[in-house]
């Protein structure tokens, strides 16, 4: 079968690359103490937060950028990025005060910010972040009735300092890595969630991140704390305009699940991927980690990664509580000239802890897809179990798939199983479907969906639909 036909089918189309035409406050490029002070002041932060940020900056200045990832890109000039950009309407309290252009843009992205516009029965609370600020958080009042705190991280620093002091940096320390340190110094907005003891969060929570301003980076920070016996399902989505220059997104996400609590964290990552020659696109350098603090705690990461020119992220679980459970379900697509180095770390510390890793990498055109995963079983983690499955699907012959599984086990009793496969969409599979009257594009998409099924099944219903549609758009150009 002709290679051009396949390429045409997988070169995708980035449908969310528009720019919201709003006036923006942007701080001049550069990173020094004054930048940090400016951000902290804009956020009306207490002194202690500013001190933590400055400490992080000092640490970061002494660190070097990691180069071990299986990715190559032009080095980032950290002094040429602007670290704060905000639409020119500050801290709106009601929907009427949000710039109608932003509302329209979110509407266009499929994220309604008007509560009454949501369909009955499928309530999803949204925190909408544009560049460096949260512009709107919905359903806050209704959630408060259950004692659930759902607000921007900036608000949380002002209103819930005790929770922030206790949990921020507790899972991802300030100096964890180069990008985490950078984020700790300059983070702007993101979401804070607290679910009280015994509460099952009555609706899906979500954050939608939009990079809009030129020449800026987005550095959000998200913290979710699920107290004993509570449950929350949280989803994040993102997109950015199509631009020729690269933009940096360096986020940190921390999750804490206490005894018997469960956090389900789903991501649909659709940052602008750049073009076929690798020009433009988002550098997505993200640190995500969850701590199963108490017994029987469970943290589940599900990610569908279709965007970004470079991805570097490893959503991980520290299984500290006995019988705690960590899960990682991932679909990562690299097409055009995208490169992804992604995977997870499962750190087993408690007894009878178990983890599951299901990773599906899809590469097309010049895409390079790397799975990198660590399963670590500590000395006291008797009865620990891990199951890992890493499958790669290649479409065409210019792309690549790479797998780097690492295992460190101090407990010889642990059970670790690893399976890995690499397959190509074979001409025989395509032909079989076409012989049944299914056109080539639909056939490719059917095979790819089949490949990703185990992961899509983990997504909440409405997001699974979105993820399938997104995959179709990414891989099939003309569909949609």
């Amino acid at each position: 079968m002709a290679q051009e036909e396949i390429n045409k089918a997988v070169s995708g189309e980035y449908a969310l690359g528009f720019e919201i035409d709003i006036e923006t406050d942007v701080v001049p490029p550069g990173l020094n103490e004054d930048t940090i002070k400016f951000i902290s002041k804009k956020k009306e932060e207490p002194e202690w937060m500013l001190e933590l940020r400055l400490k992080a900056l000092k640490k970061w200045e002494q660190m070097t950028e990691p180069t071990w990832g299986h990715v190559t890109y032009e080095p980032v000039d950290y002094q040429s990025i602007s670290y704060y950009a905000a639409p020119k309407t500050d801290g709106p309290e009601s929907l009427d005060e949000v710039d109608p252009k932003i509302l329209a843009a979110y509407e266009k992205l499929g994220i309604p910010l008007e509560e009454q516009k949501q369909l009955a029965g499928v309530k999803v609370a949204v925190d909408a972040v544009v560049d460096s600020v949260s512009v709107k958080t919905t359903y806050q009042e209704e959630l408060q009735k259950y004692g659930v705190i759902f607000c921007s991280i900036s608000e949380a620093i002002r209103d819930y300092p005790e929770l922030i002091k206790k949990y921020m940096f507790s899972v991802v320390p300030m100096t964890d890595n180069f990008f985490a340190a950078l984020n700790s110094a300059v983070f702007t907005d993101g979401t804070f969630v607290y679910i009280p003891k015994g509460v099952r969060c009555p609706m899906e929570l979500s954050t939608y991140f939009r990079i809009n301003a030129l020449n800026t980076g987005q550095f959000e920070r998200t913290l979710i704390v699920a107290d004993e016996g509570s449950y929350v399902s949280y989803n994040e989505g993102c997109s950015a305009p199509m631009r020729d220059e690269n933009q940096l997104h360096a986020a940190v996400v921390e999750l804490v699940a206490m005894k018997d609590a469960e956090i389900k964290y789903s991501t649909i990552q659709n940052w602008y991927p750049g073009d076929e020659e690798g020009k433009g696109g988002i550098y997505n350098f993200v640190t995500k980690r969850g701590l199963c603090e108490g017994e029987n705690a469970k943290i589940s990461w599900t990610q569908v990664e279709t965007g970004s020119s470079i991805t570097w992220k490893y959503p991980s679980c520290i299984l500290k509580g006995d019988n705690s459970v960590g899960e990682f379900y991932s679909v990562a697509v690299t097409t055009l000239a995208q490169q992804a180095d992604t995977g997870t770390k499962m750190i087993h510390l408690g007894k009878n802890t178990s983890s599951t890793i299901i990773s599906k990498g899809i590469s097309a055109m010049k895409g390079q897809n790397t799975y990198r995963g660590l399963v670590k079983i500590g000395a006291n983690a008797t009865g620990a179990r891990n199951y890992s499955e890493c499958d790669s699907l290649l479409i065409g012959d210019q792309c690549g798939a790479h797998t780097f599984p690492y295992l460190e086990s101090k407990d010889t009793q642990g059970q670790v199983e690893h399976e890995a496969t690499t397959s190509k969409i074979s001409d025989e599979q395509l032909f079989y479907l076409r012989q049944r009257g299914i056109d080539e594009e639909s056939a490719v998409s059917m095979i790819v969906h089949g490949f990703c099924k185990d992961v899509f099944n983990q997504l909440p219903m409405e997001y699974a639909v979105e993820a399938k549609a997104l995959l179709e758009l990414t891989l099939e150009g003309s569909v949609g």
Partner: protein
């Protein structure tokens, strides 16, 4: 129209090797044509050529389906027009639900014919009536397409697709290979159900066994890329007894 498919002086290559060397064959509506022949004669290449498989390059000749040339048509167009191939080795497609696949295929065909698409419930009703007949367990339609199916299950699944898609020309490439007697009977019953006096069958086989169940109208002997003899069903007995060599000598 007395011919539904006309294969005229077809020369076809796989890679550099010419396999079909001036093959002529006409299929009549409502008739069962059996193709027999020794290994390497070009039987599977013939079926691949008719359905437009990528491996095959036609260098000379013509194939007309209902009077129209199909050589420039994409494989899916040929399928939508009513040409069906039951594969010798049906491929496994992990994660693709069998029922979903079948409904997609059926609806593609219905759309092509300007008919309403069937919803899931209507489709399941349609399919259910065939499952029992083919001796297929109900869970086979909710499993991934051919994944982990036994040889017999794969062939039954091919026949299920044939029954659902109701094609006009049905090519059965070694449908009988690897089947036990029960499976052979079930598969034959499915095939016989499709015999309505209008559809044509091209049954490619090594063995005469299946021909006891599906009564052929014509036997064609394929050797070295050409049909070297065409006769009635009585030829089967001669082939059984004397082998292909006897035919070669006669020709």
């Amino acid at each position: 129209m007395s011919k539904v498919l006309e294969i005229k002086d077809i020369h076809a290559k796989i890679g550099e090797k010419e396999i079909l060397k001036g093959l002529n064959l006409d299929l009549e509506p409502g008739k069962v044509h059996a193709i027999m022949g020794p290994n390497g004669a070009g039987k599977s290449t013939l079926s691949k050529t008719i359905v437009g498989h990528y491996d095959v390059e036609v260098t000379e000749g013509e194939i007309l389906y209902k009077g129209k040339s199909i050589l420039d048509m994409e494989p899916e167009e040929r399928a939508l027009e009513g040409i069906f191939l039951s594969f010798q080795h049906p491929v496994e497609i992990p994660g693709v639900n069998n029922a979903y696949f079948l409904r997609t295929a059926l609806n593609a065909k219905r759309k092509h014919e300007g008919k309403e698409e069937l919803n899931a419930a209507e489709f399941l009703r349609e399919m259910k009536k065939y499952l029992e007949m083919l001796g297929m367990k109900a869970d086979m339609i909710s499993r991934s397409l051919n994944e982990g199916f036994s040889g017999g299950e794969k062939k039954r699944n091919e026949i299920l697709q044939m029954l659902i898609l109701e094609p006009d020309v049905i090519i059965l490439d070694e449908i009988d290979s690897g089947l036990d007697i029960d499976a052979l009977r079930a598969v034959s019953e499915g095939i016989n159900l499709m015999k309505d006096g209008k559809r044509s069958f091209l049954v490619i086989t090594h063995y005469s066994r299946i021909l006891d169940y599906i009564k052929p109208d014509y036997i064609h002997v394929l050797k070295d890329g050409r049909i070297i003899k065409t006769a009635g069903p009585e030829l089967v007995a001669q082939l059984e007894e004397h082998g292909y060599e006897s035919i070669v000598e006669e020709a």
